[in-house]
């Protein structure tokens, strides 16, 4: 166990340094700015449930879709060395499919919601498989391949519900997007935890991690070792499809309606950003899902901090950009190696000094 811990910090922290520094920086910044930023209180919500509220909760809650998508995006990035820019559009499709089933059924029960969710999963997996086929079989770069669905995905979503933006109202949907009666933690947060646990279990009980990294680092060698890289790449897109369905379902449930034009708009950029902030190489290869999750929360925390500072929502992007640039500059290979050189120089100076002292 102790060994495990040491390994985690020794091997793990290297990549997680930047996202953790970012979180600490944001926390520190907010502490100085306004310590009440972190206050968490228990309030009664519209449905009469006792629930947790506060900036921290809205950060963790608000980043749910992003965190789920970032997890899937990490896998695609690792296997294919590129990113899926169609996740927002695909989530709109999945959300529309979800609502479609709910609208067809006469009354919304747990079974219909489950059926609707399954249908959304199937639809999202089919579109994931479409992207995945272009990437794995036709060897098209992910960004180009997914540009197709990015361009027309929201139109397909529009077509599914005949151009309308139907609303669904049901306590079950409210529970998915908000709170389950009796549990003070927002449901989306629980969903993120569930998805993360599923990922951990999958990595533990399959060779997905090793195979994905092998394919991403050296596809040719992976093939000669009997790994079906086409399948692994396709699989990564299908898994991302599942994540898209989950994110779409959360998104729809939050609002109780599907708006194909605005649902999870521009989230693909944030998801890719989360992967990058998490220290993963966007060129593929080695990856850490935990990094991407932290990355997602960094992005959300930044957004909420800016809101708390009364920055208009339209202007947030500009400030976000500055912080992103700062983060990636600190994490850039050139700066890193310069930093390491300085550290080693200081260290050797210290050694020299101490040696002199010993003499």
């Amino acid at each position: 166990m102790k060994d495990n811990f040491r390994r985690f910090f020794k091997g793990g922290l290297g990549q997680l340094t930047i996202p953790i520094i970012a979180i600490l920086f944001l926390v520190g910044f907010n502490l100085v700015r306004d310590p009440s930023f972190f206050s968490i209180e228990i309030t009664q919500n519209n449905n009469g449930n006792m629930v947790l509220a506060g900036n921290l909760i809205s950060i963790i809650n608000g980043a749910s879709e992003l965190a789920v998508l970032a997890m899937g995006m990490t896998l695609v990035t690792a296997a294919c060395g590129g990113q899926d820019i169609s996740v927002g559009a695909a989530a709109a499709i999945a959300g529309s499919a979800f609502v479609k089933i709910l609208k067809v059924s006469p009354n919304i029960t747990g079974v219909t919601v489950a059926a609707a969710f399954l249908f959304a999963c199937v639809v999202a997996m089919i579109f994931g498989a479409f992207n995945g086929t272009l990437v794995s079989v036709f060897k098209i770069q992910p960004m180009i391949a997914t540009l197709i669905l990015y361009t027309c995905g929201r139109s397909i979503a529009y077509w599914i519900n005949g151009g309308a933006t139907p609303t669904v109202s049901s306590p079950i949907i409210t529970a998915i997007g908000g709170f389950i009666p009796g549990i003070p933690v927002p449901t989306p947060v629980l969903i993120v935890i569930t998805v993360a646990i599923i990922f951990v279990l999958v990595f533990h009980f399959t060779s997905l991690e090793l195979f994905t990294q092998s394919v991403g680092i050296n596809g040719s060698a992976a093939r000669l070792n009997g790994i079906n890289s086409t399948f692994i790449k396709l699989l990564s897109f299908i898994i991302l499809g599942l994540c898209v369905a989950v994110a779409g379902t959360i998104g729809v449930s939050r609002l109780g309606l599907i708006n194909h034009e605005t649902l999870l708009l521009d989230i693909e950029m944030d998801a890719i950003l989360a992967v990058a902030i998490g220290g993963n190489n966007l060129g593929g290869g080695k990856f850490k899902i935990s990094g991407s999750i932290i990355g997602a929360y960094v992005i959300q925390m930044l957004t909420i901090t800016l809101y708390a500072m009364k920055v208009p929502s339209t202007d947030v992007k500009a400030y976000k950009a500055i912080v992103i640039i700062l983060l990636v500059v600190i994490g850039s290979p050139v700066i890193k190696s310069k930093f390491q050189k300085t550290v080693s120089r200081v260290k050797s100076n210290k050694q020299r000094v101490s040696m002199k002292g010993a003499e």
């Binding site: 091997g11 533990h204 009980f205 399959t206 060779s207 997905l208 090793l210 195979f211 990294q213 092998s214 680092i217 050296n218 040719s220 060698a221 992976a222 093939r223 000669l224 070792n225 009997g226 790994i227 079906n228 290869g285 080695k286």
Partner: protein
């Protein structure tokens, strides 16, 4: 004789994180000489050359060109100072034309004159006898021609110092001779040539002087005629040569007629012409032939590495279908690919992950090898094969070439194959490791594993194989066993001087 010193490198030091790559190395190149730079892998040859060409900066020392102190900051800088390099890997751009590849990155002015360049390029190509057209896209030429274009570029730059870093590894004999003629020509014009190669015969054929490096240190500089081949090897590996000769003496090759393990009838793939082949249990056989003769393509077909499109395959007498690598692996076949970097290592993954990879694939997606098991496997093979690595968690890409090759060997040994195909396992690795691998092959055969061994060095194959299959122009042209297994006979068969009956 001109004894004018063209290039001097004095007290060169270079440190990489954790490794001292070069310490206090001197190197002198005179006008109009061909100077071999020799050493095992990891001896520091490539580091020295990369410093000279401005790819790496140096941590200490000085370089003088024609007596002038210079500092070289970039490859372009090196070019401007008259130092040109041809690398083992083709460092040209496949999307540009041949002419553009010869002239890009050179000369003054902002404009490109395509017509002039192409005419000039055609002249040079014609003069050097390179079968390419100036306006052709480079990517449409064969690798050998691309290599020649790289040399043509260097030649045309009227360089004072020409560095050839293992240029012959992708050329066939005829092309090598062409290159040597070219080198002698340049020598007459007073160019100093630094020649890096693993082929000892080539050194003795063209070089005037030899500088030997070992473990990042200078061993010495010698005149070629004063240094016998055996001594050169001794200086490179730094140990006595008994081992080499010992291995050669155990030449009693038993052609025991054990059961046939693998048998193929008119097997063909997208890359390989139909051929027949069989291997017995515990036999070591070899495929030989010039580069491009189809030897690698044939063994790739056996493993299913390229798309198999015909033929019948039997393993232990039973019909099987092998169309992709995983099929072969499931039938107990392992394949160590020719190109270690491209087809072998997963550079950023650890030694442990690289070692268990093939076994994991065979066990299947849903049965991962546990961490502790994997660590045990890794530790075991690091010890057995004497892999030099900081730890089992070190990324394999940071090991030296020979140790990377051992990791891949470990990967296949871990699957306990019945039949192991080794395609050039000793290429580009040091003599010591070469010996270890040859010994290992013989030991595996003793344990009943069938091995197919391919090497560019015929001598090496004669030492290890009990049967040699000779290929020419993508066809099997002969099979040598017993007393026919000697260099002369192999050469004769490769060259096609004699009709050889075919099995």
């Amino acid at each position: 004789m001109q004894e004018v010193e063209l290039l001097q490198m004095r007290h060169i030091n270079k440190v990489f994180p954790g490794v001292k790559a070069l310490s206090d190395v001197d190197f002198t190149l005179r006008k109009g000489e061909i100077h071999a730079l020799m050493g095992e892998n990891g001896a520091g040859k490539s580091t020295l050359i990369k410093i000279l060409t401005g790819v790496y900066g140096m941590d200490g020392g000085e370089i003088t060109v024609e007596g002038m102190n210079v500092s070289i900051h970039s490859p372009q800088d090196a070019q401007n100072k008259g130092i040109s390099t041809v690398y083992q890997e083709i460092t040209l751009c496949p999307n540009l034309t041949v002419a553009e590849n010869m002239f890009i990155g050179r000369g003054e002015g902002a404009l490109v004159f395509h017509r002039d360049n192409e005419n000039r390029a055609n002249e040079i190509l014609k003069k050097l006898g390179i079968p390419a057209r100036a306006s052709q896209q480079l990517g449409s030429c064969s690798l050998a021609v691309q290599q020649m274009v790289a040399i043509a570029r260097a030649v045309d730059m009227e360089c004072k110092v020409l560095i050839l870093d293992e240029p012959t590894s992708s050329l066939d004999d005829k092309e090598v001779n062409m290159l040597f003629d070219l080198m002698r020509d340049l020598k007459k014009q007073g160019v100093g040539i630094i020649f890096v190669t693993h082929f000892l015969e080539q050194v003795y054929e063209v070089c005037d002087r030899i500088t030997v490096l070992r473990n990042g240190e200078l061993v010495g500089e010698y005149l070629t005629e004063e240094l016998p081949q055996v001594e050169l090897v001794a200086k490179m590996i730094g140990k006595e040569l008994d081992e080499l000769s010992n291995l050669g003496e155990t030449e009693e090759k038993k052609v025991e007629n054990k059961e046939i393990f693998y048998e193929a009838e008119s097997l063909s793939s997208n890359e390989a012409m139909p051929f027949d082949f069989c291997i017995h249990k515990g036999e070591v056989n070899g495929f030989t032939g010039l580069l491009g003769s189809g030897r690698s393509e044939s063994v790739r077909a056996i493993f299913g590495a390229d798309k198999v499109n015909g033929g019948n395959v039997k393993i232990k007498g039973e019909d099987v279908k092998i169309t992709k690598p995983i099929d072969a692996m499931k039938h107990g076949i392992g394949y160590l690919a020719e190109d270690r970097k491209r087809d072998g290592i997963i550079a950023e993954l650890s030694v442990r992950e690289n070692i268990i990879l093939a076994l994991q694939v065979m066990k299947g997606f849903f049965k991962p090898i546990s961490r502790s098991e994997a660590e045990a496997f890794a530790d075991e093979y690091i010890k057995v094969l004497n892999i030099k690595t900081a730890s089992r968690e070190t990324p394999v890409g940071s090991l030296s070439g020979g140790n990377q090759q051992k990791v891949i060997l470990a990967r296949w040994l871990l699957t306990h194959p019945d039949y192991l195909i080794l395609d050039e396992p000793t290429r580009g690795i040091d003599v010591g490791t070469k010996l270890e691998i040859q010994k290992l092959v013989l030991k595996l055969a003793e344990d009943g594993v069938s091995v197919t061994f391919i090497s560019s060095e015929v001598e090496e194959m004669l030492r290890t194989c009990s049967r040699l299959i000779v290929m020419r122009d993508r066809h099997i042209v002969g099979e040598l066993t017993g007393s026919d297994l000697n260099q002369a006979q192999v050469m004769k068969t490769i060259a096609g001087g004699e009709a050889v009956n075919e099995g």
